[in-house]
């Protein structure tokens, strides 16, 4: 066994006393990590602990204020990612950076094209890629368009892209966040092969079971600093979790059912065509029109989606991202047009504007808070007004009631524990968790009867996550109907009263969260298992 020789070899990466002062989020402080070559080294920590900042430093995207980086024993001062790439470090980002309308081959060589004269030397590129794919067991078809690939394949393309540039040290930033359990297993198989080829993998995650499964060594980061280095064979998930949060992990379990008989939201036959909304021709029904679209082979973003949510019920929608969740939310909010009907508290709201829907009691926690939820360059109290600009306490006649809005922002800051210097602070100065708590507080204001919560705890720390779960549970107990969309299957299973699986715009299964495992749920989400389980 070569373990001894590896142990004596120079470390692939050595970080010494890395400190980065960075406003708004937890800064890195005196980080020390030694990564041995030919291993999978996991870096774990809760969201916002400083993992991403650390990786950006290692990848040359940010420069540390203090500390040294050594790669293969040599001290480095990265100014840009190109410096890091030159030193053999490659990064696979959490969000894929691929051009959809390019083939796999084109994506891989993009920016590092082998040339024959002025033309792209496709033959040489193909040879190199096939060779890389074969040696590392990363099977992909170089001529397929990326837009036709699944998430797992896209990730393999990202990894190949990095290897193609000669990386010997791979950083994977939360690689499993977008994968279903089956795909995770495939990824781990790939990583093990890379390791056996002598490559080094730095694996960032907060999913402890996965980390214990794949890592040879684990470094735990808490509040921006390294708190422990542990051997996965000698540690349990529970112990690791305690190291991460410094206390016990919260669980998202809801207690007894609070579901009532009153229907709060009823969605019937919701159908959305790709490439723009067209009104149903006169004389036909939505159903007939949708049938015709299907026969014509038109792609439907939403295909005859129907469900009911009762007061006091949380309906979870499970699905791999991009299967119609965003379209469903936007159709209910009236942001995008769709066929079919939406009823709120017995009233048909299908033809209402977004504003009127909000005014009549729909709260909306958007999936991307920076895109749809906040005015980053505006103060917190102005963000409190957003979406409530026509209602009390934000409005008084034609005026914005600044005093009342500020006072109510103070209330949210108190009740939802938003950490901020004050209501005049700009939203961009807050950390992700605090921004999200502000949004949750805002959307719960004005006693909504129905709430859309899309990834309500994405990118927030464990403390904020627990608080948001508590607020959702309390509101549910008070009779709120919630449509929950989440990529975190534990959250989905733990909070929901009912789970519906969405796959290619259709609701394909209704499941009981009390007897489903994340693995089985993953099977439904990828279409591997079909049909509805009967309780």
């Amino acid at each position: 066994m070569s373990a001894d020789t590896l142990a004596t070899a120079r470390p692939a990466v050595e970080l010494e006393g890395i400190t980065k002062r960075f406003p708004g989020v937890v800064a890195n402080h005196d980080i020390r990590i030694t990564v041995r070559p030919g291993t999978v080294h996991a870096i774990v920590g809760e969201n916002g602990a400083g993992k991403s900042t650390l990786m950006k430093i290692l990848y040359g995207m940010q420069r540390p204020d203090e500390g040294t980086i050594k790669v293969n024993g040599e001290q480095m001062a990265f100014r840009t990612p190109s410096d890091a790439i030159a030193a053999g470090i490659g990064m696979v980002h959490q969000h894929f950076m691929l051009a959809d309308n390019f083939t796999v081959l084109e994506n891989i060589v993009l920016g590092a094209e082998p040339r024959k004269g002025l033309r792209l030397d496709t033959a040489a590129a193909r040879r190199r890629i096939t060779e890389l794919a074969a040696t590392h067991g990363l099977r992909v078809d170089p001529d397929r368009l990326v837009e036709d690939l699944g998430v797992g394949d896209r990730q393999r393309v990202e990894i190949l892209k990095v290897l193609y540039r000669g990386a010997r040290i791979l950083i994977l930033d939360e690689p499993t966040a977008v994968l279903v359990p089956q795909e995770v297993e495939e990824l781990f198989q790939n990583l093990r092969e890379l390791k056996s080829e002598g490559l080094t993998v730095i694996f960032i995650s907060h999913k402890l079971d996965e980390v214990l499964d794949i890592a040879d060594e684990i470094t735990v980061i808490r509040r921006g600093t390294t708190v422990a280095s542990v051997d996965p064979r000698e540690v349990t998930a529970r112990r690791l979790a305690e190291l991460m949060v410094g206390s016990e992990l919260p669980t998202p379990e809801t207690r007894e059912s609070t579901v009532t008989d009153t229907v709060a939201l009823k969605v019937a036959g919701l159908t959305m065509e790709a490439g723009g909304h067209r009104p149903v021709p006169k004389g036909t029904s939505v159903r007939l029109y949708a049938d015709k679209l299907r026969q014509d082979g038109k792609r439907l973003l939403l295909d005859d989606v129907s469900f009911e949510i009762h007061k006091g019920e949380i309906l979870g929608i499970a699905g791999v991202e991009g299967n119609g969740q965003s379209e469903l939310i936007e159709a209910i909010m009236g942001i995008r047009q769709a066929h079919g009907s939406v009823e709120l508290d017995g009233r048909d709201i299908s033809s209402w504007s977004t504003l009127r829907r909000r005014e009549s009691g729909i709260g909306y926690i958007p999936e991307d808070r920076h895109r749809q939820g906040l005015l980053l360059e505006a103060s917190l109290w102005e963000n409190r007004v957003l979406g409530h600009q026509t209602r009390r306490p934000a409005r008084k006649g034609p005026w914005i009631d600044r005093k009342a809005a500020k006072a109510d922002t103070e209330r949210i800051i108190g009740e939802y524990d938003v950490r901020t210097p004050g209501v005049e602070t700009l939203a961009l100065a807050l950390s992700g968790g605090n921004q999200q708590k502000l949004i949750v507080g805002r959307e719960m204001s004005g006693e909504p009867s129905f709430l859309i919560a899309a990834h309500p705890t994405r990118g927030v720390d464990v403390g904020a996550q627990a608080a948001i779960w508590d607020h959702l549970r309390d509101a549910r107990a008070a009779g709120l109907a919630v449509l929950l969309i989440s990529a975190d299957l534990d959250e989905l299973i733990g909070l929901s009263d009912t789970i519906q699986v969405i796959y290619r715009g259709r609701l394909v299964a209704a499941l009981d969260p009390s007897d489903i495992t994340p693995e089985r749920l993953g099977g439904y989400m990828t279409g591997a298992i079909a049909g509805t389980e009967e309780e």
């Binding site: 406003p23 005015l375 360059e377 102005e382 957003l386 026509t390 409005r395 005049e424």
Partner: protein, 374 residues
């Protein structure tokens, strides 16, 4: 509010640096043109030898600043929600000729006469701006292209109207054409009495200090209130800062585009009135042009805020006024345009830099304060 004050001071510092740099750039240009930069600098502050000339210079400065200010406001309304109304130029011409013509067709007591003229100007400007707004919301036509094209159309329509249907009688030997003159009740009272307060002689050139200054100040205050304090202003701000968030918050983007464009056009309609109501009494072939385009520069310089726009308009007017003085000093007056161009470019850069810096500072401050309280 120390945070707000901080940001304001930073902005100011950025603008000052930009202006100093612009002067440096122009000194190079003046030297290249064979002039003496110091000589030029004194020319800028040379308001004339006699007391009467000095009063006239001051009046000219304000008379120039007022339309620039209104033009800046008109452009800023659109800019605030990322709507580029390049058509202010055309809107104010159409509005000016309509207002001048309608005002000349009847005689009423002064307040009514003037109010009607102002309303006609705002309606005409607003309606002309409605065209690109409707094109944008119904067909997705880019407002920049539509308004630029509409400028050419406006230019030719006004040229036709002033020679054709709206033409007044031309006096013997007169080379220019104009709309019929306004009745006396249509002329805005001047503010020449203000000069007496400062112990200066009343200006005499071009009707002295135009009274429309008062309307411009009121307009600036009202617009500030609308943009900063009302629900409509909030919708404008939200749309400008984050279109998708505004949409998700229930702000109707189409309605906002129409409202902002029409408001911008209505304000643009007022740009020509200081001159018509203060001095010429009619819209003629010598009517001041180019104010709409200068308004874009003024709005940029003033960061789309009424106070900033006022300062920018005064600065531009100050530079413009010096054109005559520069000629006397044997320096090509086009130096002024170089300075204006350089200032706008540099201020845009400075704004971007100070803005980023201010946001960074805000993040740091928040982080620091949290650490103190935690």
């Amino acid at each position: 509010m120390p945070a707000g004050l901080n940001r304001a001071l930073l902005t100011l510092a950025g603008a000052v640096v930009a202006i100093v740099l612009a002067i440096a750039v122009c000194s190079v240009a003046i030297v290249a043109a064979g002039g003496d930069p110091l000589h030029a600098l004194t020319a800028f502050f040379d308001f004339g030898a006699s007391e009467r000339a000095q009063s006239n210079s001051v009046a000219t400065l304000f008379n120039r600043a007022v339309p620039l200010f209104i033009a800046g406001l008109a452009v800023a309304v659109g800019f605030r929600m990322n709507l580029f109304n390049i058509g202010v130029e055309g809107q104010y011409r159409i509005a000016a000729i309509c207002a001048a013509y309608v005002g000349s067709t009847f005689v009423a007591p002064a307040p009514i006469q003037i109010a009607v003229i102002i309303i006609v100007a705002m309606v005409a400007g607003g309606l002309y701006a409605l065209i690109p707004a409707i094109m944008k919301v119904t067909r997705g036509v880019n407002e920049v292209i539509a308004t630029i094209m509409l400028n050419y159309i406006a230019l030719n329509i006004t040229a036709y109207l002033v020679r054709g249907p709206f033409a007044g009688t031309r006096a013997e030997g007169e080379l220019t054409v104009s709309t019929p003159p306004l009745p006396d009740s249509g002329m805005f009272p001047d503010l020449n009495f203000l000069f007496g307060w400062f112990g200066m002689l009343a200006p005499t050139r071009e009707g002295g200090l135009w009274g429309f200054l008062v309307v411009a100040i009121v307009l600036g205050v009202v617009l500030w209130v609308v943009l900063e304090r009302t629900r409509f202003g909030f919708d404008v701000k939200a749309s400008g800062l984050n279109q998708s968030a505004a949409l998700a918050a229930g702000v109707n983007p189409k309605r906002m585009v129409i409202a902002a464009m029409v408001l911008s056009g209505a304000i643009a309609g007022l740009i020509g009135l200081p001159e018509i109501l203060g001095s010429t009494g009619s819209f003629g072939t010598t009517f001041t042009s180019g104010l709409g385009f200068l308004g874009i520069a003024v709005a940029l310089l003033g960061r789309n805020k009424p106070v900033g726009i006022a300062v920018a308009a005064l600065l531009f007017a100050f530079l413009d006024r010096a054109q005559g003085a520069l000629q006397f000093a044997n320096i090509p007056p086009s130096v002024v345009e170089i300075i204006q161009g350089a200032i706008v470019l540099l201020v845009v850069v400075a704004n971007e830099v100070t803005n980023r810096f201010a946001l960074r500072l805000e993040e740091r401050r928040a982080a620091r304060q949290l650490k103190v309280t935690a």
